[in-house]
């Protein structure tokens, strides 16, 4: 009996000891595209902070966003840290900790080497702020890029054929108008000698994909000098779909032209209305198409594609035609209802530090958000295109609205554009006016 009591006491003391040693357990929710990187960073962080246990839970976008919203609505504090998609900034902002206020109140926690000014200016806002509230640190920079078959664009015979037919050089398109000619040239239906079946792989399904794809076409009009004169400067919270005074901008001649560009390119693409992310990646990976607008994450999936080997010789990366690709990306922030704010703050500083940013890019292709990392010699040797394509893409990107109503507005516009592309509705300002009216009605609600 005495032995049993002794054992119990020793056991309880050990547990108590463990409890003292482990001061916090951080629950980190992350999207799958950045979970692997975050997991490895968490392991390193735990080595430096043995008193903190970090548990990274990957959740798909469809699950992550609703769960964040539900949790912050009821303030249950189920998670401590979460990565958030830039579009959700307005919706989640009330439930996330104001990092600037927290840092001011706890100066001893601020890492002196953190260097907040090192973040790319646009990234710092779109992945960090909602209006004036600092709800996160930039974690994953992303924009869409224009991937093309470098070997085909450099092929002398193809270049000569293209010049003979179009009277100009075959080069990476700088505008969607140029892209149309090149896409036609690489489509077997129009050019039986084309080495690829189709010119370009487009994804225009009736999902959120269409909302961002449209911006790749509308952005260049919206951001052109005449567009800025007509619609005003772009507000980083309301995005390119709106004018400077927060009215819809797409129900305009420019909005119609952008849809027409999409329609014109559709005949050079395999099943554009039925394809989404996975399909377009596969068409390019199998060597069926010459060009594809895509996110940076696709690079990793092409590394092992037999038809694209060696990737460095066959895959070229350029700025999106028109020069205003749609932005993506993630910030990382702290739940206002978290009981472990101190540890969470230390962790997100670590996860967004210069070292972490560099490591994430080199190992996991999680887009860098720090200027010093993009200019780092080791990084540039690995990815020279960061300067010529990545930097201008992030800084000159078109943005979707980051306001709380974004999701509803997205569904309304996507429905109509999809019907226009399908030929069910005319591509006119009148059609787009109906969408704009719906948007205004929802915003006023």
């Amino acid at each position: 009996m005495r032995k049993l009591c002794l054992l119990l006491i020793v056991g309880m003391l050990s547990l108590f000891g463990l409890g003292v040693a482990l001061t916090a357990e951080l629950d980190v929710w992350s999207s799958p595209d950045n979970a692997d990187a975050l997991y490895e960073l968490a392991q390193d962080f735990m080595k430096q902070h043995p008193e903190v246990k970090v548990k990274v839970t990957p959740l798909s976008w469809e699950v992550l966003y609703p769960r964040i919203l539900q949790d912050i609505s009821i303030k249950s504090g189920t998670f401590d840290v979460a990565t958030w998609d830039l579009m959700t900034a307005g919706a989640i902002a009330p439930g996330f900790l104001d990092l600037e206020a927290f840092a001011e109140a706890n100066p001893e926690l601020v890492d002196p080497d953190f260097d907040d000014d090192d973040f790319l200016p646009t990234a710092k806002h779109v992945y960090g702020y909602w209006q004036d509230k600092r709800i996160g640190y930039p974690f994953y920079g992303a924009a869409m890029f224009f991937f093309y078959r470098k070997d085909l664009f450099e092929d002398e015979a193809l270049r000569a054929n293209f010049k003979a037919e179009y009277g100009k050089e075959l080069k990476v398109p700088k505008s969607w108008e140029e892209a149309k000619d090149i896409a036609k040239f690489f489509t077997k239906k129009f050019n039986p000698d084309s080495p690829t079946e189709y010119g370009i792989s487009l994804m225009f399904p009736r999902t959120h994909t269409l909302f961002y794809m449209y911006l790749n076409f509308f952005g260049p009009y919206r951001r052109s000098p005449s567009g800025v004169e007509k619609f005003g400067e772009v507000d980083l919270d309301w995005g390119d779909y709106f004018t400077a005074d927060y009215q819809p901008a797409f129900n305009s001649e420019e909005g119609v032209k952008a849809i027409q560009d999409m329609i014109d390119l559709m005949e050079y693409s395999p099943d554009p209305l039925g394809s989404d992310y996975g399909e377009t990646l596969e068409y390019f990976a199998k060597g069926m198409v010459a060009m594809v607008p895509q996110w940076t994450a696709c690079l990793a999936s092409w590394e092992g594609a037999p038809d694209l080997q060696p990737v460095s010789d066959k895959v070229g990366i350029a700025l999106m035609p028109g020069g205003a690709p749609v932005s993506g990306g993630w910030g990382i922030g702290i739940n206002d209802a978290s009981n472990n704010k101190v540890e969470a703050f230390q962790f997100i500083q670590y996860a967004t530090s210069r070292e972490a940013d560099k490591f994430q890019w080199l190992k996991y292709r999680v887009g860098p958000v720090r200027q010093s990392v993009i200019m780092d010699p080791e990084v540039l040797a690995d990815s020279p295109w960061l300067v010529e394509a990545y930097l201008p893409s992030i800084e000159g990107a078109s943005h979707r609205p980051r306001i709380p109503e974004e999701a509803r507005l997205e569904d309304i516009l996507v429905g109509t554009i999809s019907e226009i592309l399908l030929g069910q509705r005319p591509n006119t300002i009148e059609t787009l006016n109906l969408v704009a009216e719906d948007w205004i009605r929802h915003l006023e609600k």
Partner: protein
């Protein structure tokens, strides 16, 4: 002094109490809350308290173009898929009854029904792939052109109908087949001895005997089709345009994935519930199921 009957009643009450609490907590309360919310403007992303708006959410349904197109596709599905499933289910049950390999066939026919709709959706999305999908490959064997199964209005709708028929015909088959097994063989045999042809025995004896089961299968399938969500979510996401936008899928979008508009989604759900209840009751009355099944 409490009677024996009284204490038994008390004991019975306490025994069902946990279940009652669960039922009230998980069914009655959420349902009542949904009705309450349907008269309110409440969005999870607005960070404001629910605001009473009376019938405004219900009025909005009639103004909402997407809600109208969702109803259209749901009706198309109802009219095209359900009769096909019933006819095929009956046909297959009769065709393969008492045939060689019946057991093997019966088991394999039930496979589509046992596959989770999400998994079935992923599989069908691959089957329908424009360039690499087996369906288009099959068509090419007959020199038929490739079909954009997910990118054209007609074929996307046809695609969803085919998936529903593929997955749920086995359910109808199962019900009818079980009914056929329960028909006493001597009645059929007696009719054959009396000179009835096989067709007449089927038409005048077997079909009337399994008729109540056909109606039950019909009602269950009607209710299920009105709620179709998973296949649409996985395969077409409602597109292209609004071609395959089912009503339940729209409720999901408004309430969860695109709108967080709990008030409006509640109103849409109440309407769906009313339609299902009225339609089911109408069918039960019209088909005289109460009398037939002695309910």
């Amino acid at each position: 002094m409490p009677t024996k009957r009284g204490s038994r009643k008390k004991a019975a009450f306490f025994m069902i109490l946990p279940l009652l609490v669960l039922f009230i907590g998980l069914t009655v309360y959420p349902f009542a809350y949904m009705i309450y919310m349907s008269f309110h403007d409440y969005s999870l992303v607005s960070w404001e308290e629910p605001k009473f708006v009376g019938l405004e959410n219900y009025r909005e349904i009639f103004r909402d173009r997407t809600a109208r197109s969702s109803v259209t596709f749901t009706v198309i599905l109802l009219v095209a898929a359900v009769p096909l499933e019933i006819l095929l289910g009956i046909g297959i049950a009769f065709l393969f009854r008492d045939t060689l390999g019946e057991k093997v066939f019966r088991s394999s026919l039930l496979i589509p029904m046992t596959i989770p709709p999400v998994v079935a959706g992923i599989a069908w999305k691959m089957l329908y792939n424009y360039e690499f999908g087996p369906v288009n490959y099959f068509l090419s064997l007959f020199d038929l052109p490739k079909v954009s199964w997910l990118g054209s209005q007609f074929f996307a709708q046809l695609g969803v109908i085919l998936i529903d028929v593929w997955q749920w015909t086995p359910f109808v088959f199962l019900i009818i087949y079980a009914g056929l097994q329960s028909i006493p063989r001597d009645i059929v045999e007696a009719s054959l001895v009396d000179g009835a042809s096989g067709w007449n025995a089927l038409r005048y004896i077997e079909l009337p005997l399994i008729q109540p089961l056909i109606w039950v299968a019909l009602i269950i399938r009607v209710i299920d089709v009105l709620k179709i969500f998973d296949i649409v979510y996985m395969v077409t996401f409602g597109g292209p345009g609004s071609a395959t936008h089912s009503y339940s899928f729209y409720i999901y979008k408004v309430g969860v994935s695109f709108g967080w508009d709990i008030g409006y989604a509640s109103a849409l759900s109440i309407i769906l519930l009313l339609v299902i209840t009225l339609l089911a009751n109408f069918l039960i009355k019209a088909l005289r199921l109460k009398e037939i099944l002695e309910l």
